[in-house]
Amino acid sequence: MKDNGNIRSLLPPLTRRSFTHGVGRFGAGLAAAGALGVPALIGTTARAAGFTGPRSFKIGFVAPLTGPVAPEGIAMQRGFDLGIATLNAAGGIAGHKVDVVSQDTQAVPAVAGTVVKKFIQEEKVDMIVGTITNDEEVVASQLCAAAGVPVLFPEHGFWHSFCNATTVMMGENSFDLNGPLVPFAAEKFGKKFFLIGSDFSYPHAYLTVAKNYMKQAGVTVLGELYAPLGTADWSSSIAKIKSAKPDVIYSCVVGGDAIAFVKQGASLGLLPGTPLTGDTLQPEFYPALGGATDGQYVCVRYSEDIKTDGNKKFIADYKKKYGEGPIPLVATSAYDTLSFVKAAVEKAASYDKKAVFNAFKGLEAKSILSDKPLRIDPMTMNPAYPMYITQIQKGGLYKIVKEVGLVKNDLKCEA
């Protein structure tokens, strides 16, 4: 991690997933779940857990429900809705039910700005939670900082530009994702990598961080390709990768393009013969891939194979409400974010916005991800997540094959 300082500015300026908005409805099963106790969302290590608020706690939820990142937006909404329902069924925050106002941002920064301003000025929200794309988050972060309203980005890992007095970055960062994966893949498959990604800022930043780890692991990069978002035909890129004969394809092709890339790679004989890893193989893509990724390895923050009580409950509730199939990662992060919100407000023992934001610094909260509390690093305002190397099983389970634990980095917000 010697080069962190040099590449910090390249940390993910765009998130790879998106959210949707919406107010959750209580399901009958969820009420029962609340009565029985839901470890993650009820549990808190906050010092002032006995604090009772003056009124309902109000969250403004913003997400792109329509537009190019709507799949991720809707998945985020589902996780958030379920989290709110579970939280309220378990008694809410500070003894009060949590109220939510929500609205679609269409993945348009100007719309996101209008919605956030409306939530702050008219709805008088205590906090903003959402959205997906970096452009929207920049707007939301700036508006919230100016208004002194805490804002949480469930899917955004540390990014230096979001270091301000109100933003909390709840996602895993590119160091978490690449740090364990690069040496694992190099050791298991060989040290000749071919890099490929979608051509926008997040994949470039992700692969820049990855290359730093590759250098440390003695990996030779045979080639690096990028293709515009919306690329339908990957034949030429696949031909170039095949001719390079890499040991590993390290990919940050995202969204629907990832499905096209994998399907065409399989039909053209590139996969599964050559290991494919990176940030391309999201669990929610599995049903569309027809088993083309069975056996591949990826590094993740969340897997349905995490055997905590909170995760078992979450999986059961999620599938009961939304049906079977892999749970999108963005849904898990939106759900888990609410554990931290509850813990922060109760630790602050106040709805005061500054006090609540400060309570996030060094906050420890229970999560569906671990039996041990997770901690928000006060230097980055980003939780430190235990990471896992997983292998994709037939049927879509990301089976944990290696528990990596917390990934060290020397990131920090600087003045």
Binding site: G230, S267, G269, G290
Partner: protein, 289 residues
């Protein structure tokens, strides 16, 4: 050598799909004189049809999809477009734009916006020399070549084709000669819609099915039409091959983003310098009636 063969086959694959879409666009632009910006969304409809019928045999699903495309085209033409023909270019453009938006939203409501996929009906590979190439791609290439060949024969070697070309050349004069514009418009739009829907159905096994699936095909298809001689029905097919050949050559040395930028730049420049499109001698003598 294998690499060259693979590039050549990839080029033919890409050209075949684009040619089908461009031919359908050219039909609509030539006969109805409207720019159908919903063509990509019609491809999306075809892909979702195949997803909906993924439990059926692929060929049967394809047949049902094509028939559905014909009916959809008839409904759209009779229900919407015929009311705006005389309102001018902008009105028809907006009408097709609106149709596209509605189709996308309907797909999002019916299937959600999450990515869907279907399996290829022919999972194996055929060995060509030392190269193995997907059987499905080769089958689709053959199918499209046969289909386009049959359509071009229909257009240039039958009385029906002659009537169509007469209507394209001068709709008023054709009407005087007893060729009903309304009937021709409806038939052309229905066939063109079915072709776009069919194109979407055929590529569905190779990519993610989403409400915006067809949008990336729209720009190259329009360029394929625009570089051809206006009104020519074989022209868009040749245009599609020219577009894909240029793109393939550019991609051989450049990354996809740069290749795409240069491609569209070159095409725009070509159209600016030669707005009448590529012209060549083509025997258009239809059967005398």
């Amino acid at each position: 050598m294998d690499g060259l063969l693979q590039v050549a086959l990839d080029f033919v694959w890409a050209s075949a799909g684009l040619a089908l879409v461009a031919f359908s666009l050219g039909l609509i632009l030539g006969e109805l004189k409207i720019v159908n910006v919903a063509q990509g969304d019609l491809m999306m409809v075809g892909a979702y049809c195949m997803y909906s019928m993924r439990a059926l045999p692929f060929a049967l699903a394809l047949l049902i999809t094509a028939v559905f495309g014909l009916l959809l085209g008839l409904v759209l033409e009779r229900g919407i477009l015929r009311w705006v023909y005389d309102k001018g270019f902008i009105a028809t453009l907006l009408a097709t734009w609106g149709i596209g938006i509605v189709l996308e939203q309907v797909a999002a409501v019916l299937f959600t916006v999450s990515q869907k996929g279907i399996d290829s009906p022919l999972a194996g590979q055929i060995t060509v020399g030392a190269l193995s190439y997907p059987t499905y791609r080769l089958a689709v290439i053959c199918g499209i070549v046969l289909l386009l060949g049959a359509l071009l024969l229909l257009v240039y070697r039958t009385s029906l084709g002659l009537r169509l070309r007469a209507s394209i050349d001068n709709v008023e004069m054709a009407a005087v000669m007893g060729i009903s514009p309304q009937r021709t418009f409806a038939m052309v739009f229905a066939v063109a819609t079915a072709l776009a829907v069919l194109a979407g159905a055929l590529i569905a096994p190779t990519l993610a099915i989403t409400p915006t699936l067809g949008l990336s095909f729209l720009a190259p298809a329009f360029f394929a039409v625009l570089i051809a001689k206006p009104g020519s029905l074989a022209g868009p097919v040749v245009g599609a091959v020219a577009v894909e050949l240029t793109f393939t050559l550019l991609q051989a040395r450049l990354n996809v983003t740069l290749a795409e930028s240069i491609l569209f730049g070159l095409l725009a420049l070509f159209i600016a310098l030669k707005p009448q499109g590529i012209s060549w001698t083509w025997k258009t003598a239809g059967r005398k009636t």
